[in-house]
Symmetry: C2
Subunit: 232 residues, 2 copies
């Protein structure tokens, strides 16, 4: 037995939902297509999966191409396979979810691909079912960030508690009490005081922390309750 005969073979693509944080709001890395189909429209960055390439490798290849980064937080999200989702030809697309610190990426690579960071609040309409993909990614972010403080992936290595709070406020689009947030985050004992202070801050310099990666890995599969319940 060397091949499954009589079975249909389909195009398989990968699309990446790349989220970043600039200190104020969540942004999405989108490309303005300069090729057909849908030339001139906004879309996620994607590409076909090669014959001899794992799905994850395909996604990482695309991410590297676009951002110049390698050690990104990437997770497989969902596979979109509606028959008519691509008008040209049926294509299955495996969507990947990536979080990066917005200041880390290679700007030249981004420019070369005609890509731009767009605030989620001003997201344009995207091609095909890419809007659905983004929705799914945001839903996933809410889930994940409620259980794990994985907002760390969106911040620089050294960060302050107020920075982290702003990130969570952006993710959940709500205001949090500064003092309670600080108490809660410190009680996890996940933050290591680097002894340094935030220099760019205009007023009082905030303490810079880094993530205790060992403890984080240990605790990752325990469930926290990170965000308050919405009132019912």
């Amino acid at each position: 037995m060397t091949r499954y005969e009589h079975s249909t073979r389909l195009l398989v693509a990968t699309d990446c939902i790349i989220l970043g944080f600039d200190g104020e709001e969540l942004k999405l890395l989108l490309v303005k297509r300069n090729f057909e189909p849908e030339k001139g429209k906004w879309s996620l960055m994607g590409g076909f999966v090669n014959d001899n390439e794992d799905l994850t490798d395909g996604a990482e290849r695309i991410l590297y191409d676009l951002t110049g980064l390698t050690n990104i937080y990437v997770e497989q999200l969902n596979t979109f396979g509606e028959v008519k989702r691509d008008p040209v030809e049926r294509t299955i697309s495996v969507a990947f979810f990536a979080l990066i610190n917005i200041n880390d990426h290679d700007e030249a690579a981004v420019k070369a691909h005609n890509a731009h960071w767009i605030s989620l609040k001003h997201k344009p309409q995207l091609i095909f079912d890419h809007d659905k993909m983004v929705d799914k990614a945001l839903e996933h972010l809410l889930y994940k960030a409620a259980l794990h403080p994985l907002g760390f992936e969106l911040l620089p290595e050294k960060f302050s508690i107020p920075q982290l709070q702003k990130l969570y406020e952006a993710i959940y689009d709500m205001k949090l009490d500064r003092r309670n947030f600080s108490r809660k985050i410190l009680s996890t004992k996940l933050l290591i005081d680097t002894g340094e202070k935030n220099q760019q801050s205009a007023t009082k310099k905030a303490i810079l922390y880094k993530l205790d990666k060992v403890r984080y890995a240990d605790k990752f599969h325990s469930f926290w309750h990170f965000m308050p319940d919405p009132v019912m």
Copy 2:
């Protein structure tokens, strides 16, 4: 533009991880293959995705074939696409996660497919990367059930609180305090007292509840903390 030329097309399959609960333990619906490759070995139920068929439809077709059920809780889990995962020919497999009440299924259909309910504690080794798929499904169940009381999907329409507790104990493989569990579950106000009592119970008859589906749908996107934190 009518086709993407020069791009490789791949076989796309669907595999279903079907979990059920018999009142005591979690079980997995597995088939003993009576066809090549890997004839005689245990595997998940799966099949190729048809040319003109959505992925979800493909999964539901396979689930209906095997169990005779249509309104199953199904969720797409993950797509497994390692180059060498299928020794015959490269095949991408989209794994689906299904929860059913183990007493509902069509036994004849199950028998016809040479399928069996196997306790997770005695799961045999499966073909290809199906073990990985099952691991992923269990991990997903832990996540989901921590946030949503989605164990309901595994129980009959009317059930008692002790039944629900046994299910959660099976999922998390831990003992829970009866009184605290009851308090917590009732405080969600998700259960409607049917006025009936459990008849098969050997001693005191337990109150049968049903799920308040409206409230459940409303609350689904709020985050609960259903299981206690593991001690660190």
